[in-house]
Point group: C2
Chain length 431, copies 2
């Protein structure tokens, strides 16, 4: 069976898709019976079109023209961005074409319109490549673990942030130096905000949370923190306590059915399986009702890992097309009626690491502990580093489980004290 592919986007991932389809074409044809032919390519860059034009019979700079091309059965969208691709996919579905995409920003923002539209048109909208690069997390949640309730998910889902935190830990480097190194190695963009502020992670976590609980989680409802405020001192203190700091996406559901979906730098016990996931690696840790804990670790980005997931979606689609009566999965939970109610961040309860910056004066601890006590926050441990500037002494408090709102209220009062020299650093523990 011939499957005619139209490819939008000829950047890193797009060229990887072309490479893998060409490398495996004979194998797919012979062993699976699926002949994937790239019949159309599209890039807004004329230079890229020129470079790749020998690899497809038809090339265009207009994605909408490709979406309408009657020779195309399935569109692979790996251009990125979240505004324009929405119109391309809408056109693709209007023309009854299936879509495979790696675009998490698009799906996190516009999944609520695109999934229902695909369903209405009888089209597949597949996105294994959108989350975790080559790690098969979408298929694991949707297919392998369909007989499980997901009790919780924690993931390291942005290689840039994980690389920076790993470098800060190994080299005792400040954030800025580690970021610069990541940029030199091509692990961070010239403008790194999208990664280091947690936005990219949030898009992926929103999709994962939606799949975990069958209700649509919107990025705008999530609590998202990046890693820009994590200091070398925080990492050093964490190490002394037997912890590391990782940017985690976490998802869970409480007894009232309220979903928690957050991105934040977390203190993670060093013996936790996620603690050994270093550098640009990604990982997803699932706590499930039947299988128990499962960890998937691998390359979360890059040309071929991401292209590999695109290919897996193309083959899954082909298996359905081969029946002559393809049945897309029910993704109805992305529709508006299934918008998830998230746990308000104020109501979050966890243990906290608080790093105060205080003057070295008698009575400081008395004042701070009094406020914490008045707000109902119980202290598990307290540490002071001796050898520091007496005007800027770091004092670390570890709390027992406390409500986020109470901690924030206490810190407003504490940070207003004249003995406090800088806003207190707050980092949550992950258990």
């Amino acid at each position: 069976m011939k499957i005619r592919v139209g490819l939008i986007g000829l950047g890193t991932v797009g060229s990887g898709v072309l490479d893998l389809l060409e490398q495996h074409r004979a194998f797919f044809t012979k062993e699976l019976g699926f002949d994937f032919e790239v019949v159309a390519i599209c890039s807004r860059s004329q230079a890229r079109l020129d470079r790749f034009k020998a690899r497809a019979p038809w090339a265009t700079r207009d994605p909408l023209a490709l979406a309408a091309n009657p020779n195309v059965d399935v569109i692979v969208e790996v251009a990125g961005g979240d505004t324009h691709p929405k119109a391309w996919l809408e056109s693709a579905f209007a023309h009854k074409k299936h879509v495979v995409t790696a675009n998490k920003a698009l799906l996190a923002k516009h999944g609520k319109e695109l999934f229902p539209l695909a369903a209405k048109q009888g089209c597949f909208l597949l996105f294994e490549a959108a989350v975790g690069g080559g790690i098969p997390i979408i298929r694991t949640l949707q297919e392998s673990f369909i007989g499980n309730d997901i009790h919780g998910l924690a993931c390291i889902i942005n290689g840039t942030c994980n690389y920076i935190l790993t470098e800060m830990t190994r080299g005792k480097l400040p954030f800025a130096t580690a970021l610069q190194r990541a940029q030199e190695l091509g692990y961070a963009e010239a403008d790194p905000a999208f990664d280091i502020e947690g936005t990219d992670s949030a898009h992926k976590v929103a999709l994962l949370a939606s799949l975990c609980y069958g209700r649509r989680v919107d990025v705008e409802d999530m609590s998202v923190e990046g890693i820009t405020s994590v200091s070398a001192m925080d990492i050093e203190m964490a190490e002394e306590l037997g912890f590391c700091i990782k940017l985690l996406g976490t998802v869970s559901q409480d007894k009232q059915g309220r979903i928690q979906a957050d991105v934040y730098p977390a203190l993670l016990e060093k013996r936790h399986q996620l603690a050994t996931v270093d550098g640009v690696l990604n990982a997803v840790f699932l706590k499930t009702s039947a299988v128990g804990p499962l960890l998937l670790t691998g390359a979360g980005a890059g040309k071929l890992p991401t292209a590999s997931s695109v290919i897996s979606d193309l083959v899954a689609l082909a298996r359905q097309l081969a029946t002559g009566n393809p049945k897309p999965m029910n993704m109805g939970f992305f529709a508006d009626a299934h918008h998830a109610k998230l746990l308000p961040i104020d109501e979050l309860e966890t243990e906290f690491y608080l790093r105060l910056t205080a003057v070295d004066k008698p009575g400081v601890l008395a004042k701070v502990t009094a406020i914490l006590g008045e707000e109902g926050i119980s202290i598990r441990a307290l540490m002071q580093k001796p050898e520091h500037d007496p005007e800027n002494v770091p004092v670390i408090f570890l709390t027992h489980t406390a409500k986020n709102a109470h901690v924030r209220r206490a810190l407003q009062r504490i940070d207003a004290l004249d003995i406090i020299r800088a806003p207190t650093q707050v980092i949550r523990f992950y258990k």
Copy 2:
């Protein structure tokens, strides 16, 4: 769509399948449109049939009667054993029924007949539950990584052995004590031979190797060692060297296309991702062309993890049945024409750990090193433990990469020396 399930086997896994199907029945019906009804159950134990008879309208002690029951669409075989189930599956396929099985021994031994028969009859034969319990390794190899060449696979695939080795390491216990503890906890059978001699691992590795390279690997062609010869001293020496000892299944392919598929206790660097997989956990580590390394870690056995994989196969089957024109995957590589030629174990090249037991006399090392030199084996390191019985001094040699046949020949000569008091222990390194 109603899917009528017949269940053969009402032991641990069978009861787990019943539990999960009942727990999720409303969800599957509402969200997926698949109503799985268990219409028939079978156990050779009348006591079990009596215990479960309320959970299905029809019960029998005769698996062949269930295989022929016209009310059954799909048979779930979780009875175990490798002789009788072959006839049951043959009958099932003759009656055009699909099969989901957790039976690795059956498939490793009789896959060459069963897969072609299923294909001929247009039936599915699915087996996610047969390898790695709840870990989705079959789906990952067959679907997620279909666009990858597999450069290598290493797995910890038998929880009993991994538990015993973990206990020996943590508690500095001898093998027999750790085995006894595993038996007390229900992690090892009263007759543990099937696990500790590597047979169970070998069945699973044969299936994984076949999937990795699209050619059928037979257990009888593999080199299989268990863990019974691993001593507390070997583990202690490994620890000192920065290694641990794990029972690994390993699979790779050389430049001539010869497949290597072995089970053996291996010295594994402690910083390798597999080294942290402890206790009854299982893990599969893949080295792939596009995604690079991927690690999957989770519960490799047990009631609900295994049942979860059965459920995932049932849902995958239902998605195909829903099209009205189901297309089983091509499993033709299990047929006789695709029998893989394995690399002869004599030609294996790797680094070795050799533990000699010698008398404490001058000239011992000279004799041993002379033989190693004559056989072309280059020594990387040598260690003697001082405080021991002078009649039984352990001497450890670590070799550079050497051919297995040369090492075995050297050891025949060494072990024949009158200064050697016991057969030399040989453990391979895994890299």
